[in-house]
Symmetry: C2
């Protein structure tokens, strides 16, 4: 059976859970406590030398990391990663945007404010990241003003990837009220029959 190494608060790991649910694919979850260094034990570093999760482990022991790479691997051949080359390119465009423009501004600010509770200590850094984050959310909002989903009018791994940290933006003190199309899209993702909530044990 597939094995997913995750942590409870990781949006990156949550992406994989959303996709595995959509694929109705059984898997074993291994939940690590990152604060206690559980992703950086010698054994875990053989699975991902970067000491991060999520990690997907295949039945034969091979491991894959980087959440968006795991999405493309698992979704291959499904409706969530269509075969048409142009649609795939556009999905890839959004996955790259997510890595560069969404993860650091949104996930990092959420971590500093809502998880590490260090808002005062990193005030200037947070303000700078939030400026980047607002640009990224604005771009997303303008695109979604005319589209139900990010690519080709259907729910795909692009939506799964972007949803993960975007739906948590308010934990980084972003005002999603300023991005009404993003809000509608978040609600749309959450009405997928396969939708699963984030917090888990």
């Amino acid at each position: 059976m597939l094995k997913l190494y995750q942590s409870r608060l990781s949006g990156n790991a949550y992406k994989i859970r959303l996709l595995l649910s959509a694929l109705e694919r059984p898997y074993e979850r291994v939940t690590l406590n990152l604060g206690a260094g559980e992703a950086r034990t010698p054994e875990m570093l053989t699975r991902n030398p970067l000491g991060r999760i999520p990690i997907l482990e295949l039945e034969d022991g091979r491991t894959l990391f980087e959440s968006n790479a795991i999405l493309t691997y698992l979704a291959e051949g499904s409706a969530f990663y269509p075969g048409d080359n142009w649609l795939r390119a556009k999905i890839m465009q959004w996955l790259m945007f997510e890595q560069y423009d969404i993860v650091r501004p949104l996930a990092r600010v959420r971590f500093l404010i809502s998880i590490a509770k260090q808002k005062d200590k990193f005030e200037a850094h947070i303000a700078e990241l939030q400026e980047m984050g607002r640009k990224a959310l604005g771009h997303l909002d303008r695109h979604l003003a005319d589209e139900d989903y990010l690519v080709g009018g259907v729910y795909s791994i692009a939506d799964i990837s972007l949803y993960a940290y975007t739906h948590l933006a308010e934990e980084g003190e972003y005002d999603l009220g300023a991005y009404p199309a993003v809000r509608r899209w978040i609600a749309r993702v959450e009405t997928q029959p396969s939708y699963v909530p984030m917090i888990t044990d």
Copy 2:
């Protein structure tokens, strides 16, 4: 004919030129002056609302942005993006690593030090990014200690993507002497028959 919107100093645009050369695919180059705002004119914003290059424009006018997305699109069906699902997943893993761990620390520091010449003004920011960048280079070096190329022993879009900013690391005052396997890999990429240098008119 394909059209590539680029700038002279962009490592991201250079990736596309390296691949197009490897594919022996003819294309038209449009070189923009980013400092003069040429990527943010109303016309260019219809091509990429983010106001960035590279942008690939197809014969029918459709546009694709995000350098790594362009690489996957153009390389589809070629030896530089093999059909095997596991190799594709590993290539994707490196492309995501490049976006998150290489571009900001390496490209941004190079820009601040060697292009904008603002080293003194951003000293603390540069030091922080360089610490991230050294971790990323260390990861790359350990992987390349036993491998000629990043994935599957052959030159692929993973090498093209990672090469672009890694080979410019010294313009961001990284000491590549500390990463001998990276240095050997850079030399190996540069001996590809299709290799083209970065600086162009």
